[in-house]
Amino acid sequence: MFYPRWIVNFAKGPSVLRRNTAPTQGRRIPPQARLFSHSLAIRHLDAGSCNGCESEISLLSSPVYDLSRFGFSFTPSPRHADLLLVTGVVTEAMVPMIRATYDAMPAPKLVVAAGTCAIDGCVFRGAPGVIGDLERIVPVDVRISGCPPTPDDLLDGLLAAVGRQAPAAGDVG
């Protein structure tokens, strides 16, 4: 019997609860996150990365990972953004910009900390001028660990942030 995918997914329950592994550690997925599940505008913000995370994020647009097949896209303007994707150790100099970007985004909004640096500072924890935890600046919904997180991990995390499950290998999503 054929059922549309959304009915199947609905019957299985929230996909976030089904995820048991993954490098993504979700804290709380707001119920509104489902609003973005098939149309998500992402604003990337560098808060002191080594450019490894940027290198992997830019590969998300490549045909190998192709995040547009999920309805996701990058946007230059925080006014159009649903999700703030933060990389880097969170330096003190970037705190006002992180707050301003977050405030400029319309609610409901999501924040994803990408890379170990944004979660706990990685090897730079305790350095002068380094805060090392994005949670201290803005509320974080999903954390994606890895140094840098691979594009697969990033896709998993972004899908988890909007309450979707990553497709199995070979699935076209």
């Binding site: 830019s58 090897v123 305790g126």
Partner: protein, 401 residues
Amino acid sequence: MEIEVGPGPYQRPSRCGFPSLRFAEEQEFAPEAFESSNPDPAVTGEGMHVVPLGPVRADVAEAMRYEMDVLGDEIHGLSLKRGYKPRGVERLMRGAEVGRALEIAERVTGTSTVAHALAFSLAVEDALGLQVDERTSLLRSALAELERLHSHLGDLASLAASTGTVAAAADLYRVRESVLRFGRHWTGHRYLRGAIAPGGWRLGLADVTSEISNFLEDVEHQFLAVRRALDHTNSFLDRLHGAGRIPAQQPLDLVGVVGRASGSTEDVRWDRPYAWYPELCAGRSPAGAAMGDAFGRYFVRCEEVQHSIAMLRRDGAASAMPSELPSIAIDGVGCGLVEAPRGRLFYRVELSKGSIATVRIRTPSSINWVAVPLAVANHNILQDLPIIDASFNLAVASLDL
């Protein structure tokens, strides 16, 4: 209409908004420092306005602030503001053990992991008077060339994307992804982290002898196809020719791809060969171009991709076993000089009782950023900025350190 040209960035490189580009002995991390780094507008006059950009800018880009003095569409001046992402690298390494300092060095610039690890290791080996065997040298330069390959492919892909040549960008990203996956297969990490260490290897390497020639053949075949197509795409070439030309009269002493694209022949691999480069560079000369514009940088990158593939072919790819970190508690000073994907990278390490006393790092991006304002404020319009930016593709992480 009168336009007054002040002491702008294209006259005096020292005023490009870099307060601490010099090799200062002690650098304080003051977030305000960059706010007042360039108090005067570079160009003033009627109709002149400032287009600010950043530090949160473009789609996916590092934090840096551009302030362009624009008249109509033409950019007459650019001041850059840095200092948004200093992580205190040199300070953090002070007093650290060699292993921890190596981990930090690998994270100074993500896409130049091998170059930083190698320069650091060479400096520590120099300080301790260690010698590594031929096979280690050979594999180290193989990893360095693999890194140059993926870094240049990424730069070329973003250059193609910036000109709207998205099909070529997609192909180049795909090739780059295959290089990154090969790196993971070989060393266990896509960016080759955790491979090189002072005295030998940190985690060892897998044996890829049987696969590497097929892999290189694939990469070369796909890359040459894209390059041939791009070399015959006028809409792509038209955007590069003359865009972001670095004025020739400025004695800037640029390094790396940016330097070699504007007439310099400096390449550490040829000038001061390290690792296995005395063998690899024999019978070859560094790629070069004299134009100094975006096309020159495109051309040099393409040539170097082909060089790297040829060097990897001669290198071979054996496995390696992890070795112990040297724990000789002697004091000493050593230097490491390598050619990173973006240019000359220098480490000076002072060891004291087995740990790091001081480190000084001179990255290629910290040298080359001064050329960006000069190149941008040289008869370009606003629409050229993404192309010029992509043709330089310098790292902000290794400028702010």
